[in-house]
């Protein structure tokens, strides 16, 4: 009995020690895993900018334009549509702190799309959605994802579509490391530069990654530069000058029709394109018709206006081609948003459903244009 008792006692004691040892080993890990260490995003590559010569890091237009372009265009340049941070980490969780420029509100777009963050990770052969940072105010601190395996991964963090970012840092488990990306995805050589309207800027995607330029960036794994200016894609020549300086552009995609009237199309399209052409005689230019707005099934006035503007653009395109421009392409609006009328939030601005459908049409057109 004594032997048995001793054995049992020893066994229980051993089990107790083992448990204490295990807890002692785990404790610092658990403690440290629970801590988030932040790194200023300024040290990581930022993609989607037309130039680095900006007033602050997270904005779209060159500082030189401050007193040169129309004030609404300048202000919209502060919105970070299409900008994204690239980094690499083995952290099991990822957080972010970000301060907003305006803390803007709109009644037809989520705060997550207007002023949130959207994280993707590279998985084998594609960019996979991870999760969003949902904003609560002008200053935000949010855990985006947790409980991941401690695998070294490449990340792509999209910035807000309809607000600006004045400060940004990325948080990881304090025991892990964050580094420069190794992969050059999305490929930043020969970017695609997109000029346009509120739809181009991403209105009304539910989260930054669903703006069509960002969907296409992932789909083609190629840098897109978003020059969408809500309500202000009005063929401002200063913007054409800025675009023209990017001699490395693979394509200029022009999607401005909803923001101009027929007079403006006739007066400004050829001149705007002329500015691009002066320095980029061979670069493909893709002219995109206006989306047929969903409510135009019923609103006859809107239907007529859009039809007239689209045909005016077609005439301009034909004239440019006739005058010898062989690298100008045209995308008619047929079926951009499918045929069920369900792809917008307000007849005009695309939801994620609309952006998914529209980007598929653009994807096909871009592939054809580039080959």
């Amino acid at each position: 009995m004594r032997v048995l008792y001793d054995l049992k006692n020893n066994y229980l004691q051993m089990k107790k020690y083992r448990m204490i040892l295990l807890l002692a080993m785990l404790f610092p890990t658990v403690l440290l895993c629970g801590q988030t260490k932040y790194y200023d995003a300024a040290q990581f590559p930022l993609i989607g900018k037309i130039t680095t010569q900006t007033e602050t890091r997270y904005e779209r237009l060159p500082a030189a334009l401050k007193n040169e372009c129309r004030p609404p265009v300048w202000n919209l340049g502060k919105n970070t549509a299409g900008l994204a941070i690239r980094f690499r980490t083995n952290s099991t969780s990822i957080s972010a702190k970000w301060d907003l420029y305006e803390n803007r509100y709109m009644n037809h777009m989520t705060a997550t799309g207007i002023k949130g963050l959207d994280l993707y990770a590279w998985e084998k052969d594609h960019w996979q959605f991870v999760n969003t940072g949902r904003p609560d105010g002008k200053s935000n601190e949010k855990q985006i994802i947790a409980n991941m395996t401690p695998t070294e991964r490449e990340y792509l963090l999209y910035l807000p579509l309809y607000d600006g970012v004045t400060a940004l840092s990325v948080g990881i488990d304090s025991t892990t490391t964050i580094q420069q990306p190794v992969l050059s995805f999305p490929e930043t050589e020969k970017p695609i530069i997109v000029y346009g309207t509120s739809i181009t800027q991403g209105g009304c995607a539910s989260r930054p990654g669903m703006a069509y330029t960002n969907i296409l960036e992932r789909k083609l794994n190629k840098e897109f530069i978003n020059l969408g200016f809500s309500g202000n894609g009005q063929l401002d020549y200063e913007i054409a000058e800025v675009m023209a300086k990017r001699h490395d552009a693979a394509l200029f995609l022009l999607d401005f029709i909803p923001n101009v009237n027929t007079t403006q199309i006739k007066e400004k399209t050829a001149k705007f394109i002329g500015i691009l052409r002066k320095e980029n005689p061979e670069t493909p230019i893709l002219l995109v018709e206006s989306v047929i707005f969903s409510h135009s099934v019923f609103d006859q006035s809107i239907e007529a206006i859009v039809a007239e503007k689209n045909s005016t653009l077609k005439a301009e395109c034909d004239r440019l081609r006739k005058n010898g421009d062989k690298n100008i392409y045209y995308l008619p609006s047929h079926n951009f948003l499918g045929n069920d009328g369900e792809a917008t939030v307000d007849g005009i601005h695309l939801t994620d459903l609309g952006f998914e459908r529209f980007s598929e049409k653009l994807y096909q057109a871009i592939k054809k244009t580039l080959h």
Copy 2:
């Protein structure tokens, strides 16, 4: 010359009189066309309610439940998810005035989805999106559509998904008429009653019409009753009692898994279904697995929890079938949201893209179940 002069003079005078006459005829019409006359929506049919015995018109739960069910469930019953007004008019424009219960805000859903209105019209053989009423505050007055042909049409006006409505009126051109609907679309006989979570309630559709119960209502042209309670689809037996009283139900669709844990699934599923079965022994019941959350590709904890809950539901379903229930159906979560990870705003809540994909899967399952 004199004759010619007289003739010309007469002609000019005649032209002048004709113009004055025309203006006099047009003036009141123009004046009246520009005016909107409002009609209290209380006089028009309201679809999507489980019972008419409610505290106020625009809410979901019977007044008798006020002190019977958990307070969060009662409060969510004030949200008008799935409710819609039916009317008929030949007006060229349609407006609405509506007052909200809470004037609620969420950072991952548009105000238009939370507390806006969404208008559809019957076109030949389907419900066609017209446009939304986008909210600005607790009291709203908005023109939803204008510039239509003065055609007599049937309309379906969806109410807010995540807020309540305390007053509602529909505005039309003051020269036109508004009437009771003639068509009985959506068919209100044998409604489909859906019980569930925030996703069921419509989180996070961009506009009311994109909640999956509303998509299916149009697609099947059959009344759906939405008993989705954000965070609170916890198999409350009081709700089963309310559902059980609808002996006319074509189908009970149960989609509650995201809001319960495995213990609750084991303890409450059979009892909840037992309450439905007591009064409806033959009515088909469709058990729906939880959506596989988009961020579970990375969040291993979420992935494991959802997998365990879904398999627990499957075991419950198998047991009920084994015990003789021949009218219980099961829908596994395979590919509910497609396979690109893009269908949610926050990993969990569906965007319009997610709802379009999910409702297609549910549509196929419901058609199979009902035949």
